[in-house]
Amino acid sequence: MNSILSVENLTLKYGRHEVLSNISFTAEVGDYIGIVGPNGSGKTTLLKAILGLHPFSEGKIRFNNGSKDGRFAGYLPQKAVASDRIFPATVREIVSIGLLARKKDPKFISKGDYIKIDAILDKLEISDLKRKKMGNLSGGQQQRVLLARALVSSPELLILDEPASALDPKIREDFYGILKDLNEKEGVTILLVSHDMASIGQYTKKMLYLDRRLVFFGSYEEFCKSPDMTVYFGHLSQHQFCWRHLDD
């Protein structure tokens, strides 16, 4: 298989404090990788290093298209400004930001760009919201708009940081369903950070367990049946994360 991203011996420090230690893994084209781990384990830091937002002290991050950072990737951040109700921005204006990465200065939004924006809104079934103010939308609608912003430039790699943590269960399921379709039907490679192992395990093809170092990287099934993970979590916790596989 072709790799889309490879992380080699990545070490990242805040001052003298080592946040990530010697992380190595490869994402193949079409992978759907769930990055999980306890609070403070470096999940978000790893994503930010991949996106070029955090300098790292050692190691290499390579993209198959030769890019030096994750600029070509679609990104859905953890804490969206969307929660700012007073910010005056329509859905169309926000999604247009997703097109700027591939434009040269001065960056203008053309009529053709608006056609792309309307197409992605249509695909995510939110075209009726395009002239609405972002701050007036529900949490689930806002998350779809931000997904549209990440997808409007047709990225091969989609990077999401806790995208569904603030959503109620039904909307969360719908949201994960959209991601699954993107991965399976359109071949978009997905890296998704979540603290909710049991939930994302249903959708992802691989799990990457992080605790400042790489504890596990492999399929969800291997993750559930791995004796290493049993030692790490204990039987009870592993059963809670992996009830689907362990009961088979």
């Binding site: 996106l51 070029g52 937002l53 950072d69 994750g70 600029r71 990737a73 990104y75 951040p77 969206a80 400004v81 007073i86 910010f87 005056p88 921005a89 329509t90 204006e93 926000i94 247009s96 930001i97 997703g98 700027l100 990465a101 200065d105 001065p106 960056k107 203008f108 939004i109 002239r131 609405k132 103010k133 912003r149």
Partner: protein, 275 residues
Amino acid sequence: MINVIQGIMEAVQYDFILKALLVGSLIATCCSILGVFLVLKKFSLIGDGLAHVSFASVAVALLFAASPLLISIPMVIVASFIILKLNEKADLHGDAAIGLVSSFSIAAGVLIASLANGFNVDLMSYLFGSILVISDVDIVISIILSAAVIILVLLFYNNLFAITYDEEFARVAGLNTRLMNYLIAVLTSVTIAIGIRIVGTMLISSLIVFPTVTALQISKGFKGTMVISAVVSVSCVISGVFLSYLFNLPTGAAIVMLNTVIFLAFFCIKRLNII
């Protein structure tokens, strides 16, 4: 009503009123456009802080008998960079960084003024502005400034919108967020250095904050906010100049009071769901 119209017709016969209308409208346009970025980036009070720096710089200029504008513009730009650096490097929130620079500057201005007697009257004119004594040089500078602000904002509109909405995402998209922040800081600094001659140190920040918060009451989109903000600001300046002529009021104060009335009107419109 007829008297008011006659008064306005009479006012526009005077050169100084026409100059006040032109320069006031240009400064109001710049302040309102930049205000949208500053208010939404939670740097609303930067106008106030930099106006205090400008006050100190005028004190320095008067002490050395130099041109206030030549001293003010570089000093205010440096101060705006210090505020940005404090915000970035010293882990200070924008308001705290502005507070530090602002209070230091006002203290420095007062100290210089007290040490050098003889220019306190000139300094006071910068506190409250003098929109009715505008020179031809002021007009030229204001036209150049407003043209620069409008052209740069139009050229970098999408970059500025992206970093105002979500700076982290803008960085991921490869935008030079630091350059854009410094661009806003420079444009704001020059606007304030020129603007305090007209509306004064005490009132310049109102030209930055009021039109934006008024526009925010009714606008849905970013472009709309900018347009409404500029229209409100220019309308208030024009009406304020006429009011001050007709009723012999201080111009700066009249402009701010009008801004307050328009804000309250828009606030009520929003509350009553009229739009």
